[in-house]
């Protein structure tokens, strides 16, 4: 089991191109759909948690899934699997390929990959939206959140913290009333 966790996350780490969000479609495919380790709802919760903790988003996600599967030892294997491909590749570049950046073919390959990766993130966004409990009262929440982050440049961390505080106040208010 620990080896399966490691290999799964090694594969995910190897294809996470262009930052932590690029990991989301890979996790959705490997961990949610294929292996069925967590449900879509749990995946949404985990994204909120991973985003509100400091550190590397992709590593935080793998720590959480590893902990769910096999407690602390599971999170060590998942986190190692996620980071090992990038450590090996970066070390190889630093040691042997000083001018990697100027390689035309590598540059061309990435010109093709980058736009595709954005679409890969869009797909789980739409799939997860159907599990987010959206209705006629809440549909505006993702829209306003997206606009705040994209247009005004508010950090997602603040929005998550504000939402948590709002939810707790609401809960206390309801408890008092009952």
């Amino acid at each position: 089991m620990l080896l399966t966790l490691f290999i799964t996350f090694f594969k995910i780490g190897l294809f996470t191109i262009g930052g932590g969000y690029a990991m989301i479609p890979l996790i959705e495919r490997e961990v949610v759909e294929r292996k069925g380790w967590i449900s879509r709802e749990d995946f949404l919760d985990l994204l909120a948690i991973a985003q509100s903790a400091p550190g590397v988003f992709a590593v935080n996600i793998s720590i959480f899934i590893g902990y769910r599967m096999r407690k602390s030892i599971g999170s060590i294997f998942c986190a190692l699997g996620t980071v090992l491909p990038s450590i090996i590749i970066i070390l190889a570049i630093a040691l042997f390929l000083g001018n990697y950046r100027d390689n035309r073919i590598v540059e061309n390959v990435f010109k093709g990959i980058r736009p595709a990766v954005i679409a890969l993130i869009l797909t789980p966004t739409i799939r997860l939206a159907s599990k987010a409990g959206l209705n006629k009262w809440t549909w505006w929440v993702p829209v306003v959140t997206a606009l705040l982050i994209w247009w005004i440049g508010v950090s997602p961390v603040w929005i998550i913290f504000a939402t948590i505080i709002g939810a707790i106040l609401y809960y206390i208010f309801k408890l008092r009333k009952a």
Binding site: D45, L47, F57, I63, T82, S86, L95, G133
Partner: protein, 197 residues
């Protein structure tokens, strides 16, 4: 500075970056620049730009990629051997993960224990639509000139990028093709198309 002192400093610097690096890789990059280029002067500004470019062109989380690269360069620039530089890069990657590792373990344990409690359920119910918006914002933010090519009507790369974006979406959403296959095909296409024209 002695070797041990440099390693200790490397550990402490990246531990701090891991602890205060909120909001994913790009938020972390500005912290790294501030600590590593401006305060410690381990690497130059142009070396830092190289690191950002290399991080974007290699797989893996950007925070880990840049920690690995900076750890290597900092030790190498201090005039030590490549083997010692490899140790530096491993140390930097480990240190940047350590704070979030500890925090995430605590959060995960807390979450598993209390996730059925009504208050936690309320918080999660409120958070889910926000996370969807957060992901949508990530998509919007990534649709920029760096990823698609300059936004001008005469730029061929822009049209090709839009085509690849739409095709990759159809492939994953409607045809249910896996993301790894899509990445490999888009990379193969880019490598052939842009090299041949």
């Amino acid at each position: 500075m002695s070797a041990v002192a440099i390693y200790l400093k490397l550990f402490w610097t990246f531990f701090k970056i891991g602890l205060f690096g909120f909001g994913g890789g790009y938020g972390m990059l500005s912290l790294i620049q501030n600590e590593v280029v401006e305060k410690q002067k381990w690497i130059s500004n142009s070396e830092f730009t190289d690191i950002v470019a290399v991080s974007q062109m290699t797989p893996g989380p950007i925070g880990i990629n840049s920690a690995t690269y900076v750890g290597f360069k900092a030790i190498e620039n201090a005039g030590m051997t490549p083997a010692e530089a490899v140790c530096g890069s491993l140390l930097a990657s480990f240190s940047v993960m350590l704070p979030s590792f500890i925090l995430m373990l605590l959060i995960s344990a807390f979450f598993m224990h209390y996730k059925d409690h009504k208050s936690v359920q309320t918080v999660l119910k409120w958070l889910r639509p926000v996370v969807v918006g957060m992901l949508a914002a990530a998509v919007l933010l990534l649709l920029n000139e760096e990823n698609l090519g300059t936004f001008s009507a005469a730029n061929l790369q822009l049209y090709v990028s839009i085509g690849l974006f739409v095709l990759a979406f159809i492939a994953t959403y409607f045809w249910k093709i896996g993301p790894i296959k899509v990445i490999l095909m888009a990379g193969l296409f880019g490598g052939l198309f842009y090299s041949l024209i």
